[in-house]
């Protein structure tokens, strides 16, 4: 039994036929070929599947695709391209915030949510915001550094924008 859903992903409307039990993460990966969103667990612990729904970080393995209908979804592919990186992508690159890269899209989406709520987080606040995102490679030190760096870039951009 399949039904049609229309999802708004990275600014484009996409209609697909899915089983009602299909998880958003599977639909993103298998139907929409947005494979930047990863699956690292089956108990909603790892955060590799994190996307933004209505601007908030959500684990896409805990949402049915049909539930996400009508809400704007942003995946890592919608953050920035190699020639026009989002400040978080740039900072993860600059600060060596990734090694194997598997956790990275989820980390970046969670960090994006954090910076919207808290533009100047402390190390501690960053570490707590990453409660639901696991990384096995980096020991988190450079992820924290990257998010701090991106926060500074975003703040500088905002104040430059305000001054202009």
């Amino acid at each position: 039994m399949q039904r049609s859903v229309t999802l708004s992903v990275n600014g484009a409307e996409r209609s697909v036929r899915v089983e009602p039990r299909a998880l958003l993460v599977h639909v993103l990966r298998d139907e929409l070929n947005l494979t930047g969103t990863h699956i690292g667990c089956d108990t909603s612990q790892c955060g590799a599947c994190t996307v933004l729904i209505d601007g908030r970080a959500v684990k896409s393995c805990t949402v049915l695709a049909v539930q996400a209908e009508g809400s704007p979804i942003t995946t890592i592919e919608g953050m920035g391209r190699a020639d026009a990186l989002h400040p978080l992508q740039q900072s993860f690159w600059e600060k060596h915030g990734l090694q194997c890269g598997f956790c990275t899209p989820g980390m970046i989406m969670t960090a994006a949510d954090l910076l919207q709520r808290n533009p100047d987080p402390s190390d501690d606040e960053i570490r707590h915001a990453l409660e639901g995102n696991l990384c096995r490679c980096t020991g988190y030190v450079n992820i924290v550094a990257a998010i701090k760096d991106a926060a500074a870039t975003v703040r500088a951009g905002r104040s430059a924008g305000a001054a202009a």
């Binding site: 990863h38 108990t43 190699a82 194997c100 890269g101 570490r127 707590h128 490679c137 020991g139």
Partner: protein, 791 residues
């Protein structure tokens, strides 16, 4: 041009990873693809009396169902590839799917292939199996005793091997010693937990007889070799591709039945087959790490000279011998019992024991963390028994820096070292004397602070192939590179190693760019595909940079030699009169007569005007086989405070000083240390894989297995010393495992140090609050210490 070798340039691999455009194995999608799912045994040990797949075969979307008996004759059992000699190693058959007996909870019983992932899963639930449960045993020491359940007909007492290492006269040393200490240490089972679970996609072209296998692998050439054995398929008909790989930590070295089953199905059905494990499946069946029970002793003189070390180790292998398993608790463990010290008398006995747990194999550090841990725990215990400072005892017993190469009692020859320099550098970061004073004062007020030191060495950069052969490793340990220069001067380098997060696309490009005096952006490193890379042995054992990086360097030098010949010809000069300067070959004394690397690349590739007898083209291949292993070292310091009321351990500072020789990219080295340290901190503080007595994995999901989170881990301070290795042209040593090798012992040493007033001599990791609290309560009850430090 600034020096490229040694600079912290950004990684070349990152743009695809941070934009979501990288391709991991589960991202591979092929036309007509089908999906596989496994039925796995719910019992740790049982006879299979009946398997009924008829309902599953009828289920929607199902294309095929395979049982153990269906595939038994089509495939060779999963090979174990490390036949350690002189230990009567017994390797029982490990069939792709269990035929009549299951030996751990997770053992494969059947595989379903269906049109969709969900249909395959649904059909697995329809398979009906009758089991006759048999007794299980997951404790390696108990499994080796008479009367324990027998897991393999041809392995009495489940003892896979008894391996002995001996040098000097340990028995005599212990007899004569003034100070003796002993510990019983449990090195708990760990779950490697690469964030990307394992996956495989197989595609077979019946017309050409070619199998292509995308697989989460740290060593695609080894996977090709072992798949060729398992599938009885000629090796040249198999192409193995390790695309982007999301971490491995050893768990993606072995050959597993799963990728062989997926390949068999693809060959049988003529359609591509994909399988991706979920995390629960990963925790059940992907290899585990450690699992030692160790009885260890150290002895020495009252003034702190260590004279002997003795061990008896029960190393759990799990249900079957995984690819490298026998070598891990032996060659990579017992041979490094001397640590950083001149211990003249060593004797170790290691029993490899089959149990009812998942197979145990290489997990980050693989045997060396277990060795460093027992040695460094013993050094601290010995220092305390001798009433000496642990720093002084380490200093007194270090192999002196002018004694390298140094042969330790176990027979290894350490290539280089300056252990005291690393210790000094680490101690500079803290005020040791003051810490000790404050510690003593704190004890009086119930404030339990401790310091843990570890001065580790490791054997890595695996290694000379001749030695690999001599110790029964079923392959070589050289590595390889092809450096290919295009007409426009752009360079591609094809390597035998297979990085999966270590950043070698960047560091190896730095090696080449430095050699040719060209921008690093003009060098591309290609890896992971057996169809275009030369035979190599993969990325593990902190070997890629020391071994494969050296192959890259040698191949680049060969290219440069040829370029020099061409330059001499074009400049009508003698080769001897040319010098390499600023990226050009120039005639000495007349710098205007010069040819840049790019010009020579074009001249060689068009071949219009070659020197007599020189072939056109500009590329070279190198197979680099080192003359010895490399032995990185360092000192790590951990400062903790323990809350004696709750048992909670607070890591207040963590300092890592490591020496891996010259660093090609310090940013990447630092990242490796960070990650390694945190894996060791997880091991020390919270990670443990627990089976119940019937062999059920109780920590089977990420809810129960405590992978470190950002909020649980401290900041890590890093620094380094530089002692080049003489065994490779770069002078480099490995750094991937160093952090893990050092950090678990540093934490436990610190906690035991903090709890001195209670007279606690050891607590087994992981030091969860419950365990620390229980140790304090037990110590109080036994009256070992009053908690005030005046014992």
């Amino acid at each position: 041009m600034p020096t490229i070798f040694g600079s912290a340039i950004k990684r070349r691999e990152d743009p695809r990873l941070i934009t979501g455009s990288a391709t991991y194995t589960d991202d591979v999608k092929l036309p007509g693809m089908t999906y596989a799912a496994f039925l796995r045994s719910p019992y740790a040990h049982a006879k299979i009396t009946r398997v009924d797949v008829s309902a599953a075969r009828q289920a929607p979307g199902v294309i095929a169902v395979y049982t153990g008996n269906d595939v038994k004759d089509k495939a060779v059992p999963v090979p174990c590839a490390w036949n350690v000699p002189n230990c009567e190693l017994k390797i029982p058959h490990h069939h792709l799917l269990a035929c009549d007996t299951v030996r751990y909870a997770g053992d494969g019983v059947a595989m379903v292939v269906a049109e969709t992932r969900a249909q395959a899963r649904d059909a697995v639930d329809l398979i009906d199996v009758d089991y006759d449960p048999l007794p299980a045993e997951v404790d390696p020491e108990k499994a080796a005793q008479a009367g324990a359940p027998q897991f393999h007909a041809d392995v009495p007492n489940n003892i896979a091997f008894k391996w002995v290492v001996a040098g000097g006269d340990a028995a005599g040393a212990f007899e004569r010693a003034e100070v003796k200490v002993q510990l019983r240490i449990v090195q708990q089972r760990l779950l490697p937990t690469a964030m990307e679970p394992r996956a495989a996609v197989a595609s077979y072209n019946g017309g050409s007889g070619q199998l292509t296998l995308w697989v989460t692998s740290q060593n695609p050439h080894i996977h090709r070799f072992l798949c060729s054995v398992m599938l009885k398929l000629p090796e040249h008909r198999i192409r193995v591709i390790a695309p982007e790989v999301g971490g491995g930590f050893g768990s993606k070295i072995p050959a597993y039945p799963d990728e062989a089953m997926v390949s068999l199905a693809a060959m049988d059905l003529g359609r591509p087959v994909k399988w991706t494990e979920d995390r629960s499946e990963n925790y059940k069946v992907t290899i585990h790490g450690r699992d030692h029970i160790e009885h260890v002793e150290m002895c020495g003189t009252r003034d702190g000279r260590i004279t002997g070390l003795r061990t008896r180790v029960y190393a759990g292998l799990g249900a079957y011998a995984s690819t490298a398993a026998p070598g891990i608790p032996t060659i990579l463990h017992g041979l490094v019992y001397s640590g950083a010290y001149t211990i003249p008398n060593i004797e170790g006995t290691v029993y490899g024991v089959y149990t009812s747990g998942a197979p145990v194999d290489a997990y980050r550090g693989a045997g060396r963390p277990e060795a460093a841990y027992l040695v460094e725990r013993l050094v601290d215990t010995f220092a305390r028994a001798a009433h000496l400072d642990p720093v002084d005892v380490r200093r007194k017993n270090f192999i002196p820096k002018d004694k390298f190469p140094y042969t330790v009692a176990t027979g290894l020859i350490y290539d280089s070292g300056n252990y005291e320099a690393a210790l000094d550098r680490a101690l500079e970061k803290i005020d040791y004397k003051r810490f000790r004073e404050e510690q003593q004062a704190g004890w009086k007020d119930g404030k339990y602070r401790g310091i843990g030191l570890v001065s580790y060495i490791e054997i890595c950069g695996l290694g000379p192939s001749q030695v690999a052969g001599a110790v029964g490793f079923g392959g070589g340990l050289y590595d390889s590179a092809i450096v290919r220069v295009y007409p426009t001067g752009m360079v591609r380098v094809y390597i035998g190693a297979s990085p999966h997060g270590q950043g070698e696309e960047t560091t190896f490009a730095q090696i080449v760019a430095e050699e040719f005096g060209i921008p690093v952006e003009t060098v591309e490193i290609v890896h992971g595909d057996t169809d275009n890379t030369p035979q190599g042995w993969g990325t593990y054992g902190s070997r890629s940079t020391a071994v494969c990086g050296s192959a890259v360097k040698v191949a680049a030098e060969r290219v440069k030699e040829k370029a020099k010949k061409i330059a001499a010809h074009l400049l009508e000069a003698n080769e001897a009169d040319l010098e390499w300067k600023d990226g050009k070959f120039a005639v000495k004394g007349s710098p205007q007569s010069a040819r840049a690397f790019g010009e020579l690349a074009l001249a060689a590739n068009v071949g219009w005007n070659m020197p007599p007898g020189v072939e056109p083209g500009l590329e070279a291949t190198a197979f680099f086989d080192p003359t010895n292993f490399v032995y990185p070292f360092g000192t790590h310091i951990c400062l903790v405070e323990v809350d004696a009321d709750t048992g909670k351990v607070d890591v207040q500072r963590y300092i890592a000083v490591d020496d891996c020789g010259p660093q090609i990219n310090p940013m990447i080295v630092q990242g490796q240390i960070h990650g390694g340290v945190v894996q060791g901190l997880g091991e020390a503080l919270q990670e443990i894989a627990i089976y119940d007595e019937s062999g059920q994995l109780l920590t089977g999901t990420m809810m129960d297995y405590a992978v470190p989170k950002a909020s649980q881990m401290p900041h890590i301070e890093t620094d380094h010393t530089v002692t080049p290795s003489p065994v490779n042209p770069l002078g480099v040593k490995g750094c991937g495992e160093a952090g893990t090798i050092a950090s678990a012992a540093a934490v436990v040493n610190a906690v035991v140090d903090a709890l001195q007033p209670f007279g606690i001599s050891h607590i087994d990791k992981p030091l969860t609050p419950a365990r620390v609290w229980a140790a304090i309560q037990a110590a109080k009850a036994s009256g070992a210490g009053n908690g005030k430090g005046a014992h």
